[in-house]
Amino acid sequence: MKNRLKVLRAERDWSQQDLAERLQVSRQSVNAIETDKYDPSLPLAFRIADLFGLSIEDIFLKD
């Protein structure tokens, strides 16, 4: 599933490690989500959305 995570992270000048620490996941998880190799669970998707103050649909896009 495509997503805007990399763009949103760059807008805040966060590294993958910064975002990983905020989400309490590994940097590898952030990288896998950003590169569309892994779709996060609904709870993690909500945590990501909450962190950026957006809805899930604003971050994760239909293929």
């Binding site: 996941v25 590994s26 896998a32």
Partner: protein
């Protein structure tokens, strides 16, 4: 990949269990002569190392349950699925060969070591299919 608390705990468990396993095998080797009859005593002594191998399996299950990172957990479970599939395929394939031919009998003892080797194959599968081998466990 830096180690998370679950991985550190897993490593500690595996080191302790490995030491217990080696000691148990040494004690069993010293107490049970080669070709000993299967009596309650020899069986009891010989099963002590099996407690350690069961401990390995418990430690792996606890590790997966304790992993808070869902992506890393997925990588680990994929590795275990590959290992399980590979072990079942090899064991059943060789078992059929043993039924129909005079190939050497392979002791069941080797099932668990083969499964552990399967974890390495699982890492390779993760690397090829996802681009991320996952932590070494």
């Amino acid at each position: 990949m830096s180690m998370n608390p679950a991985q550190r705990r897993y490593i500690r468990h595996m080191i302790a269990l490995s030491i217990a396993y080696i000691l148990a095998v040494m004690v069993a080797s010293a107490l049970i002569p080669d070709g000993a009859a299967a009596t309650p005593l020899t069986i009891g002594i010989a099963l002590v190392p099996a407690l350690a191998t069961s401990g390995f399996i418990w430690a792996m299950a606890r590790y997966v349950a304790d992993l808070g990172d869902e992506y890393v957990r997925m990588l680990e479970i994929r590795k275990m699925l590959v290992a399980t599939g590979m072990t079942l395929a090899l064991a059943s394939g060789w078992g059929i060969l043993e039924l129909f031919t005079d190939v050497p009998r392979v002791p069941l003892f080797f099932v668990f070591p083969v499964w552990c080797l399967g974890l390495a194959v699982g890492s390779l599968v993760n690397r090829v299919t996802i681009g991320d081998a996952g932590p070494c466990a």
